[in-house]
């Protein structure tokens, strides 16, 4: 028989990773298409001077040991995941080349999500898709590309349209996407088509080298073993069974318009080593440590864990009110924790958060009884007012909350101080209806002077940087609350 597998310089001289004594021949069956495709890829990598910079991804399937042969960086991927692995490699090493070599079970069944999305992102990689209409390595089961009426070990009666659906045409499918640069289907059934395959593979690799984007070559390839034909009959089998269904040709070629890209739009050279302080500056996270007015006297001090619950409608600034209290505490060298009720609780239009302020390490950010409750709407008042500790404070937005006289008496019995404030109306008076949280903050600091209002102003200024109007509204809202 003619020796098709003449060694290319793209292969290792001896297949040192291969177990056993024979380190020269491949593991493929006689007449298998993989050997031919390997050779075409290896020669192209050498001729295009790409080999040294190439990482070759071996798939799961008969070519799982492709890394026995290719003389470059090698990695093996889980079934179907090679395009994702390729993405990670290419983004890390945009100047290098990545070849993802995949079979039909791997690419067109378990890995459909990965191939479609890598193609759709236009990853600058080359996918060699070997379609032999069957699962080779696992024992000749049906592949997504198995033909109608083709018998396999899992379609003993032949594949039927009714039960298994039609064979997938991968090249056509990928070509419908806007990003891929080059998609062609070729075949190995005779010498002239092997030569066409050779050219297609070269083209695809060259486009990758030129940084043009995603390329995929689908190769109709022999599996005489599972087709149960003699090696020299396998070409005929392709002609007879595959060619009528799988059209050969170029399905997409935008290489002329394609701009050069390396690895992906967001991929840039990593920055130099940054000290944490510098890094925070660069990503724009501000430190809370500059305490401005903490030296003022006449303040109340927090000498225990002060537990504050804030609850209301989403949109009333409930979460932010909790955060600003924490920031005030941090400016004054206290500890603070903030924990939101998150998830579906938020979607129903209600929001609440738990805040703990303390002069020492805070044990738990979660509590059931609070020292202070800020209730910004009726449901919050009804839900949380039973969970205020004796001697605690209940700040209540009296614009929209009504407290029955009986309940007021009960609160008194529980030694809870009810502080009412028309937060919603005062916010409107301040000119900004979303500032009822800041109105209440004013009232809290008037009632419980833990922090200075100048600290509040500086935090408001920071939060609404460059938005003069919002700063004015909020300062006004605070002042109205403070003086109410």
């Amino acid at each position: 028989m003619k020796k098709i597998f003449k060694k290319s310089d793209g292969f290792y001289d001896t297949f040192f990773r291969k177990p056993g004594d024979d380190k020269q021949s491949t593991t493929y069956c006689s007449g298998c298409g993989h050997g031919i495709v390997h050779k075409l890829v290896a020669e192209a990598l050498v001729d295009l001077d790409m080999l040294d910079k190439t990482t070759f991804i071996s798939p799961v399937g008969c070519s799982v040991f492709a890394y026995y042969y290719f003389k470059c960086g090698n990695i093996e991927a889980a079934h179907g995941r090679a395009p994702a692995v390729a993405t990670g490699i290419k983004r890390a090493l945009p100047e290098s080349y990545v070849v993802s070599y995949q079979g039909d079970g791997d690419l067109a069944a378990i890995g459909t999500a990965e191939i479609i999305h890598a193609a759709n992102r236009g990853e600058n990689i080359t996918v060699i898709f070997v379609n032999n209409a069957v699962y080779g390595m696992t024992g000749g089961q049906m592949a997504p590309t198995t033909l109608i009426d083709q018998k396999t070990t899992t379609t003993p009666r032949g594949r039927s349209r009714e039960n298994e659906g039609m064979p997938i045409k991968v090249a056509e499918l990928i070509a419908t996407l806007p990003a891929p640069v080059y998609v062609e289907r070729t075949s190995l059934h005779d010498i002239s088509h092997i030569m066409k395959t050779r050219l297609a593979i070269r083209k695809a690799l060259r486009f990758q080298k030129e940084g043009k984007g995603f390329t995929l070559i689908e190769v109709l390839s022999q599996c005489p073993t599972n087709w149960k034909v003699k090696p020299d009959q396998a070409g005929e089998w392709i002609k007879k069974h595959m060619l009528p269904y799988y059209d050969l040709g170029v399905f997409r070629d935008t290489s002329r318009e394609a701009e050069q890209r390396t690895g992906g739009p967001m991929n840039r050279k990593a920055s130099d080593h940054l000290k944490p302080g510098k890094l925070m500056e660069k990503i724009g996270i501000k430190s809370e440590s500059e305490s401005l007015h903490s030296s003022f006297s006449e303040k109340m001090t927090i000498d225990h864990e002060l537990k504050i619950r804030i609850a209301g409608f989403g949109g009333q600034g409930v979460l932010y009110l909790g955060q600003i209290l924490c920031q005030l505490a941090l400016k004054n060298e206290y500890r603070a924790t903030w924990f939101p009720a998150y998830g579906p609780a938020m979607r129903g239009g209600t929001a609440n958060c738990s805040v703990v302020l303390s002069n020492r390490e805070i044990a738990s950010p979660i509590f059931s009884m609070s020292d202070i409750l800020v209730a910004m709407n009726q449901p919050s008042f009804d839900k949380f007012s039973p969970f205020v500790s004796p001697d605690g404070y209940l700040f209540c937005n009296s614009s929209i909350i009504s407290v029955e006289p009986d309940y007021e008496a009960e609160l008194r019995d529980r030694r809870i101080k009810l502080v009412s404030i028309e937060a919603t109306s005062l916010a409107e008076e301040a000119g900004f209806s979303f500032s009822s949280n800041i109105v209440i903050l004013g009232k809290i600091l008037k009632t419980l002077p833990y922090f200075h209002k100048e600290d509040v102003f500086s935090l408001i200024k920071r939060k609404f940087r460059n938005k003069e109007k919002l700063i004015q509204f909020n300062v006004k809202a605070f002042t109205l609350g403070f003086e109410a």
Binding site: K53, E76, R81, P276, G277, L279, I283, S364
Partner: protein, 345 residues
């Protein structure tokens, strides 16, 4: 020292950036989505890679690809997403590729809900994926530790060439707290002669977890097991609080350990000699420390937001010598201090 007020989910991203993490591949899921939000903002600002993948399977495999180049790389998800990633984690352990995986645990099984739970304990500490492998699983109980463990996690991942997991419950991911950063940090274990570098140096480098000959796979596995033994010996971490004279020992990790600490403070005032043992690594389980710690204790109470997964490991160590009970909360509800008090008093 500069202090910052950050959410747990944001802090872990910043910690990773400080650790020199070059790429983030992920897929959004509540309650871990703020990690992807922060990463999508900060990684590109610093010229690093952020990519939203098509699934958790793709995310972990992109991480696998990036890690093979020697880059520090990470992903983050929550419980159902971690189930999908277990395939990739097994492959990475098999190939000996380092990475950081963050799990913000939510309530299960199945879709469960997005409330906090700790029920990924078994999945994360006993494997999750197929095959005999071990990952180091760090369980932070504060926002500060989200930063510290991101940095430590990358160092340990590179030290052992193995995935490292940060297992935080939803509370730690969602809460805000003040944090600080080390003045300076230089990544450890940066010599990576195994990395695929996209040049001639990589000519004979390979990452694979397939060993077709049984004997070869056995030898590979024995090498891995030897490494896992070293990890088990060197990386057990735990925190003890007032355990010295304690008669009642509370055991819990993550956010629960903070409630337990509050309980210790509370009952100490009432004259009950209580202490807290907190596993910091839930894998390797801090058996050596716990074994020492339980000596002389009269009673043990394990509290967890799962149905006795941690309790099982504690019980295995304690045996029948000391009475041990479980407070196991499920469904996304948090354990209330009162219910712990009821159990211990």
């Amino acid at each position: 020292m500069a202090r910052y007020f950050l959410k747990g989910n944001e802090a872990v991203v910043v910690g990773a950036l400080v650790a020199g993490c070059e790429s983030f591949y992920g897929y959004p899921i509540t309650p871990a989505s703020e990690i992807a939000h922060a990463a999508s903002e900060y990684f590109p600002t610093l010229g690093r890679t952020f990519l939203q993948a098509e699934s958790e399977l793709a995310s972990i495999n992109m991480v696998y690809g990036a890690a093979s180049t020697g880059q520090r790389t990470m992903t983050a998800s929550s419980s159902p997403g971690i189930s999908l990633m277990c395939e990739g984690i097994s492959y990475m352990a098999g190939c000996e590729l380092p990475c950081l995986v963050v799990d913000i645990m939510r309530a299960g099984p199945g879709l469960g809900n997005i409330g906090a739970e700790q029920s990924d304990y078994n999945q994360l500490t006993k494997g999750g994926g197929h095959g005999d492998y071990l990952t180091i699983v760090l369980a932070p109980n504060s926002v500060q530790e989200m930063i510290d463990f991101a940095i430590l996690g990358f160092d340990l991942a590179d030290k052992y060439r193995n995935p490292v997991v940060i297992a935080a419950d939803g509370v730690i991911g969602q809460m805000m707290e003040s944090v600080s950063f080390p003045e300076d940090y230089t990544p450890l274990y940066q010599d990576k002669p195994w990395a695929l570098t996209g040049d001639k140096n990589s000519e004979r480098r390979l990452h694979t977890s397939i060993y077709i000959e049984n004997d070869e796979l056995e030898a590979h596995n024995m090498r891995l097991q030897e490494k896992f033994s070293r990890m088990k010996a060197a990386e057990q971490r735990a925190e003890e609080y007032m355990t010295e004279d304690a008669e009642l020992l509370l055991v819990g990790y993550g956010s629960v350990s903070r409630q337990l600490k509050a309980v210790v403070n509370n009952v100490r005032q009432r004259g009950v000699k209580a202490g807290l043992f907190r596993p910091v690594t839930i894998s390797p389980f801090p058996a050596v420390r716990l074994e020492k710690c339980i000596r002389g204790k009269k009673r043990i109470v394990v509290a967890e937001m799962s149905s006795g997964q941690l309790h099982y490991d504690v019980k295995a160590l304690v045996g029948n010598d000391i009475p041990i009970s479980l407070i196991g909360k499920l469904g996304g509800n948090l354990i209330e201090e009162e219910s712990i008090l009821r159990e211990v008093l």
